[in-house]
């Protein structure tokens, strides 16, 4: 299982544009991908509903996980989106 821990820098957290971009990128992959707040339950990173409901704020740390071929590349892309200011 590949994993990244990222601190969300966007002023609006993982909402609106960052959330939509994050989910769109995850949804393009054939792998299962999850996102969780640190210590929280992982949710489907391909679901905009799940990601909006997670309510990630600026400064929160999220854990994203994926398994399988291409997991590292996918997580790197998602990490870049989640950490963008």
């Amino acid at each position: 299982m590949a994993q990244r821990q990222i601190t969300v820098e966007s002023e609006v957290g993982l909402h609106a544009r960052p959330a939509a971009t994050f989910v769109q990128t995850a949804a393009k992959a054939s792998l299962d991908v999850t996102v969780a707040k640190q210590g929280g339950q992982p949710v489907n990173a391909k679901s905009i509903l799940a990601v909006l409901a997670l309510d990630v704020r600026q400064g929160d740390t999220v854990v994203i996980e994926a398994e399988g071929e291409g997991a590292d590349e996918l997580l790197d892309a998602l990490a870049l989106i989640a950490s963008a200011p």
Binding site: A16, R17, A20, T21, Q24, S47, I48, L49, L52, A53
Partner: protein
């Protein structure tokens, strides 16, 4: 099938007319938008269900079938940090379709230099699943679109 109601009164528009690419390009999901009447009003739940996320400027209601609808009150209104919005319900509340959730004033949002248009989005839906009902003027609680 879910019938999604107009959360505010105004004129129904295609999402692509919304001046924010996140909505106009359908990145959040398919749906419609409402150009709201410029007077104080109360935004209502577009479907029956549970309020899973409630911000002053935006909320998500999830029906018993797990479908979520996002109502966004104006564009870039997150920057107002709740000023001019009064939350009338709580996260986790069960609401009926048409029940007031947030009081706001589109005229005030516009006077502050922001666009008060309200995207109403079917979350995790494919574009083909949404069929427009409303065209032109809508009252609060009128049928806006059907989500199959």
């Amino acid at each position: 099938m879910t019938t999604v109601l107009a959360p505010v009164a105004g004129a129904a528009l295609a999402l692509r007319a919304v001046p924010d690419p996140v909505f106009s390009q359908g990145l959040v999901g398919p749906g419609l938008a409402i150009e709201p009447v410029r007077e104080p009003g109360r935004a209502v739940a577009p479907i029956a269900g549970t309020i899973v996320k409630l911000h002053p400027h935006a909320f998500v209601v999830v029906g018993d079938d797990g479908r979520g609808v996002l109502v966004h009150l104006g564009i870039d209104t997150v920057q107002l940090r709740g000023e001019g919005f009064e939350v009338l319900a709580s996260e986790g509340d069960r609401v009926e379709a048409g029940q007031p959730v947030v009081a706001w004033n589109p005229a005030e949002v516009e006077a502050g230099g922001r666009c008060p248009v309200c995207p109403v989005v079917a979350l995790d839906a494919v574009a083909e699943a949404v069929t427009r009902i409303a065209d032109g003027p809508v009252d609060t609680g009128d049928e806006l679109f059907v989500w199959t």
